[in-house]
């Protein structure tokens, strides 16, 4: 970008800013209890972009949902009714998103998802005011399935907790996996002991294992799997491999492949700047949640520069342009306001004392999602 266009851009931006009213953003995310690390990363990534923009026409209100749907609903009511926010964002969990998003968009608010993107909101329940900046929930599982096919796995054992996200996960995996299934197992949500399932894996004659076990469940499984002596290749979505979890798993995760739409070594200028700025400010490595929070804030800022948030149609169009430098590189929206982006395969490595991921392959290029056709907007 030459100086001239830069200056022009700034001038246009300044003009647009002068024309628009102040934008109030309400962030509802999980800051206490078991899942707090995800919400904290979301908030920190989001605020990093907001602070860097250094503008005074955007206010962000952050509140803790304690990972409870009823608290999230209450916070949404408060932000809509008494803080009069224009945009809501920040929810980590699909069940909380389902509690908040449909009624928020029905009341004319914008919702930008930093993470949760359940199928219901991508298909028949899609809404012109709802944008997922993260992915569609199935994407990472689809990526894992595509990778399993590319890697030549013929007989995979698949496993997820018995709840909607888990069921979607196995469906997503099977969508792009072409081999046979050595076994399909639903574990319990919050289960901590996987000895029985590992014994099943050992006995199943599988040549690989796909698992979706977010949070503490993934930590438990990875440790127990490594200790069991079963050495079939593991594949999973990025949820069990973010920075916080990897440090708790330790050596047991080394070499495991996981699918992700982002990685800290993704080679583009926006990402390099983001990772450096995040480490500088918070003294830790960013996670995928931080990256998605950062992108969401930048998307929002880009739209504010183009349109008035009170003009629904114009603001929708401005968001849909996705005119910002995503840390994920190429990024655009499909017809149902969910991203079109690459899904990568990462491998867990050790850098010095820190466990982290590096990209080893691209599982899917410019993947949209399976629900575009169901969405009538």
């Amino acid at each position: 970008m030459t100086f001239r266009t830069l200056a022009l851009g700034t001038a246009v931006a300044a003009l647009a800013t002068a024309a628009t009213a102040e934008v109030k953003v309400g962030m509802i995310t999980t800051l206490s209890g078991g899942g707090a690390s995800l919400g904290i990363d979301t908030r920190d990534g989001f605020m990093l972009a907001i602070d860097a923009a250094g503008r005074d026409d955007v206010t962000v209100i952050v509140e803790d949902d304690q990972r409870k749907p009823d608290v999230a609903v209450q916070l949404a009511d408060k932000m809509i009714q008494s803080d009069k926010v224009d945009v809501l964002t920040g929810i980590v969990w699909s069940n909380l998103a389902m509690a908040v998003v449909p009624s928020a968009t029905a009341q004319g608010l914008f919702y930008l998802s930093t993470n949760a993107a359940p199928a219901q909101l991508a298909g028949r329940g899609c809404n012109a005011n709802y944008f997922s900046v993260s992915y569609q929930n199935d994407n990472l599982h689809e990526g894992a399935g595509a990778y399993a096919t590319q890697a030549g796995f013929k007989n995979t054992f698949i496993m997820a907790p018995n709840y909607p996200a888990g069921q979607d996960s196995l469906t997503g995996f099977k969508r792009f996996y072409e081999g046979d299934l050595a076994g399909e197992v639903y574990t319990q949500l919050g289960q901590t002991d996987y000895a029985a399932e590992i014994a099943q894996i050992r006995a199943s004659g599988a040549d690989s294992v796909f698992f979706f076990l977010p949070g503490g469940m993934g930590i438990s499984f990875l440790k127990q799997y490594a200790d069991s002596g079963v050495d079939l290749p593991l594949v999973g979505p990025a949820f069990s491999f973010d920075q916080a979890i990897l440090q708790a798993v330790g050596d047991a995760a080394l070499g495991v492949k996981n699918s992700s739409t982002w990685s800290k070594d993704l080679d583009n200028a926006a990402n390099a700047a983001f990772v450096a700025a995040f480490e500088e400010k918070y003294d830790r490595l960013p996670s995928i949640y931080a990256a998605q929070g950062f992108d969401t804030a930048n998307l929002l800022l880009s739209a504010i520069d183009k349109a008035d948030v009170n003009d629904d149609a114009a603001f929708q169009a401005a968001l849909k342009e996705a005119d910002f430098d995503s840390v994920r590189g190429s990024f655009s929206f499909a017809a149902n306001n969910h991203p079109i982006q690459n899904v990568y395969v990462r491998e867990v490595i050790k850098e010095g004392d820190i466990f982290t991921n590096k990209i080893v392959a691209t599982a899917m290029e410019n993947r949209d999602n399976a629900y575009v056709g169901d969405c009538k907007m």
Binding site: S32, G33, G34, A36, S37, I40, N162, Q167, L170, E184, V185, Y186, T187, Q188, G190, T192, D193, A195, A196, E197, A199, Q200, R202, A203, G215, G216, M217, I219, S220, K223, Q224, D227, S228, G229, A244, I245, Q247, A248, V249, G250, D251, A252
Partner: protein
């Protein structure tokens, strides 16, 4: 499904049952001697795991971590007994439920405040990592075998302590007649502190042992606490023997249910739906077991009193 796989699953059920026993034994002991229901027992489990992870992380020694878990949980137990629990013995169960519920809130958020929201790292010691070969071609993790052994040793130690030692005589006397042993000159306050700390140490030990193969995180104690309650209801309150049998029953039902119920459903349904339905049923299997025991014996298998 081969015979050796079934045998391995039975072993897994035993191992999870034995961990439950360590939790349930402390709970049932505390209830038996002091008549106290302690919801914060799960927090002591968590304290054990965090102490172990922190010390093992600093020193690199798993054994030191285990020692720290025992000491830390016992200390935390003694401390809350002296400051809070002591005032609750004469109260009704309602006050005990409330106060120990409050302790859970304080312990959970306090731990998060000190250690942060991220799970801690604790790993199996090198000497016990990896599987060992058992007869019938079973490959079984050495660490899990060690857990079974430790659990059995602790169980034996507890039976010996209660049945054969002076402390055990006092504990049994305390269960039967509190005024009497006070009249005999036993310092009942000290006895209670010791019993509570002992129960806490057992919970802490369980937390540390399990922490090495699971996730050390805030809130890890409550699911185990509720399972321990189920164990006690099945086994009978105040009975160590009941806790032992109850824990094994719950461990086996849970593990085998998870494996065999989906297989059973596959006989009549298509696989994907069968695994969903089967594991949904497996999730509530232990509660069905509990209900069945209640119908048959309202005071549990070995419970004397209602």
């Amino acid at each position: 499904m081969t015979f050796s796989l079934i045998l391995e699953q039975v072993l897994n059920g035993l191992q999870s049952g034995i961990m439950l026993f360590l939790m349930a034994a402390g709970l049932t002991l505390i209830f038996g001697v002091m008549g106290l229901i302690n919801l914060a027992h799960g927090s002591l489990y968590m304290v054990g795991a965090f102490c172990a992870a922190a010390v093992a992380g600093l020193t690199g020694s798993f054994v030191l971590g285990l020692a720290a878990a025992l000491a830390g949980a016992a200390l935390a137990g003694a401390l809350i007994e002296l400051v809070v629990i002591r005032r609750l013995y004469a109260r009704d169960h309602l006050d005990q439920v409330l106060a120990t519920f409050a302790l859970i809130l304080i312990f959970s958020e306090g731990t998060r405040w000190v250690f942060g929201s991220f799970p801690l790292y604790l790993d199996v010691p090198d000497a016990l990592s990896g599987p060992v070969a058992l007869p019938l071609g079973i490959q079984y993790p050495a660490y899990r075998l060690a857990i079974i052994v430790v659990g059995l040793v602790v169980a034996a130690g507890l039976f010996w302590l209660i049945g054969r030692t002076r402390l055990g005589i006092r504990i049994r006397a305390g269960e039967n007649d509190r005024e009497m042993i006070a009249a005999l000159g036993v310092d009942i306050g000290r006895l209670y502190t010791i019993v509570f700390a002992l129960g806490a140490a057992l919970a802490g030990l369980a937390g540390a042992l399990v922490g090495a193969i699971q996730s050390v995180q805030v809130g890890m104690g409550e699911p185990v606490l509720i399972l321990a309650f189920v164990v006690i209801v099945i086994g009978g309150i105040g009975s160590i023997k009941g806790a032992f049998i109850g824990a094994l029953l719950v461990g086996l039902t849970d593990t085998l249910g998870r494996i065999f119920l989906p297989e059973l459903f596959k006989l009549v349904m298509e696989p994907s739906a069968a695994t969903q339905a089967g594991s949904a049923l497996a999730q509530i299997a232990i509660y069905v077991l509990m209900a069945a025991v209640l119908v048959w014996r309202p005071t549990g298998l070995f419970g004397a009193r209602a």
